[in-house]
Point group: C2
Chain length 371, copies 2
């Protein structure tokens, strides 16, 4: 089987989607932010983050969220000209205050700081407070790849997950991302929510009127439910490992706390239910964590990449489980999807197109597509 035209999230049913060119999407989104007063470069970063999510097949974190960022700026919860400052700093670490800027702008600046510190010091370790939702976490980890570094990125978020033993939403889907360079593409890119699934999956399932696999979430009384709407409303998502401790739900819960600790506790950001919404009214005070590791401090980059390739090759050489067609490595599906979508265009859900049209009209920028 050829994977040249692989798409990890093909449009189903196709008639519910428009196909748009990624450059057009990027330019449009950028124009919205510029019109709202965001400096040109920052608008580009934000648009690039959102379109990268769509290219990688993570549409829940792509332009579908445009309105929230726009609302945040219009409501004054998100600042277009934040005074992003370093509160504490040493040669290899920093604590950054994002001053309620766009998460994509604060995140990018903080990861750049981590990378520049790692250039000289081997490691860059940056924790961030007073930021906003920063899009896909993997974006920041992947920034390290251009510098032959390992990148790590995490963020806390508004609670959506019931931790082990609890009812209701108490902790975010708190993602962990790590990117590492390889010789043979694609690079290794782990980008995972610490819940079984991110909330975006629930949105996709309820949009399609589909039942969710039993085990992803619970209802208000703590019973497993396959109704994505109940999970979203009165229920909650479950941590990786599921309900209870039998299959390691306490581990997924522990990883979510690990993320909360590095992104929230250590930075002074909001914690758990105190994290606000990007669309306001007040500052959301989201916390992030970024790390860059300069591989050359430990071994020649070529040797590292060869060792990465050897690890990946070995994992892929395993005999195939009868239920599977292929052994994947992390980031590979998104890489193939990006290649296909850069060539063939990005499928955008029709309702998302309408929302973008509304945003365009409201903000006063040209909407480049015919709906």
């Amino acid at each position: 089987m050829s994977y040249e035209s692989y798409d990890k999230a093909p449009p189903i049913p196709p008639e519910d989607y428009y196909i748009v060119k990624h450059e057009d999407l990027l330019n449009f989104v950028k124009s919205v932010f510029v019109k709202l007063g965001v400096p040109e470069e920052h608008a580009y970063w934000t648009a690039d983050n959102l379109v990268t999510a769509d290219l990688r097949g993570i549409s829940s974190h792509g332009v579908a969220r445009l309105r929230r960022y726009v609302d945040g700026i219009i409501n004054g919860a998100v600042k277009t000209h934040p005074n992003i400052k370093i509160v504490k700093e040493g040669p290899v670490y920093a604590l950054v205050d994002g001053d309620s800027g766009l998460g994509q702008v604060v995140g990018r600046k903080a990861m750049e700081l981590a990378i520049s510190k790692a250039k000289d010091g081997g490691i860059g370790f940056v924790t961030v407070r007073m930021s906003n939702h920063f899009g896909i976490s993997g974006y920041y980890a992947m920034m390290a790849l251009d510098h032959d570094m390992i990148g790590i990125s995490m963020t806390n978020a508004r609670p959506l997950v019931a931790h082990t033993g609890a009812l209701g939403k108490w902790i975010g889907t708190n993602p962990i991302s790590l990117a590492a360079p390889t010789k043979v593409p694609p690079p290794f890119v782990l980008d995972m929510a610490t819940s079984i699934v991110p909330i975006g999956k629930m949105e996709v399932y309820s949009r399609r009127g589909k039942k969710a696999p039993l085990g992803w979430g619970i209802d208000g009384q703590g019973k497993l439910t396959d109704d994505p709407m109940i999970i979203r409303k009165e229920g909650a998502l479950l941590p990786l490992g599921g309900l209870g401790e039998t299959y390691g739900g306490h581990k997924g819960y522990g990883l979510a706390v690990l993320v909360e600790l590095l992104t929230g506790v250590l930075s002074g950001a909001a914690l758990l239910k105190d994290v606000g919404q990007t669309e306001g009214p007040g500052p959301s005070n989201v916390g992030h964590f970024f790390m860059a590791v300069n591989v050359e401090s430990f071994m020649p980059i070529d040797e590292f990449k060869e060792r990465m390739d050897y690890m990946i090759r070995t994992l892929k050489s395993a005999p195939l489980h009868p239920d599977f067609k292929r052994i994947w490595i992390h980031g590979e599906k998104s890489y193939l999807t990006t290649q296909k979508r850069m060539r063939d265009g990005i499928p955008i859900y029709k309702k998302v197109m309408s929302m973008m049209k509304e945003v365009a009209d409201r903000v006063g920028v040209e909407f480049p597509w015919e709906l």
Copy 2:
């Protein structure tokens, strides 16, 4: 309900266990290593690591493994006087070669190095090659607590887990540990295998002739099996998230790769199936990763601890799921178990006592218990 006498792994059935004082156990294990030529202090570290596992209720990683370390030393695979050296170093990072010393000795020295680097530089980041099985990973993360630091520890290991899409054992149970100080004890201590369960659980289940919950592992053909012996022999454990991708098995797999990358790829240690056994014949070349984060570089330690307590208090304040009696935080069960076992003694399985007696006779040290 009172948790004063809580034990996370009570002896079942009680008649299969002896109850021994932890000091006696520590002194005995230390005497074995001293007799084998291990320097006094290193013997103490190793014994302390093993007995700490038993105190915390993680008997799979405690003195039950004594013979493997003894065999390793006798076979020459593990050196009693390793030349542990720093291969690469900067102010906050180091690459350490453990020269096939005891994992507990190499691990302790490497974590001490990380802590001392974090004292001045804010962060200490140490990756290690040419080590051996180092016992419980949480031990090293917890070393940071005495210094008001966050500690992180990971290790790779011989393959026991079938990654997503694969048949057979291809990657280790690669644990992730993070410890962070709190004002109100216990401290937060996450210490988790990235598989659903560690192999020790399989040993406990097969010893008791019990079936394992379906979902923990597969047989040689990739089918889920509840037979712990089949999982141990021709089958494999499954990553956190389970078989396939539906419940996030690819995330547990990704976390295992993340650990392999930081402990193995970056350090130059053995990878995957190339990791050897502690008991020889050749060097096992296990890789570790340690990190220490000096909290005071980011905020006053009291503020950090109060923020930790607030997070934990909030998580514990959630309404209780009807299937649960209590919401736990990570490290709490092991903390209570340690308190009970320090007071009442440690239950040691009778077969483990016999094994220790054999070791005592073989090595020529006094066995302080009457069997």
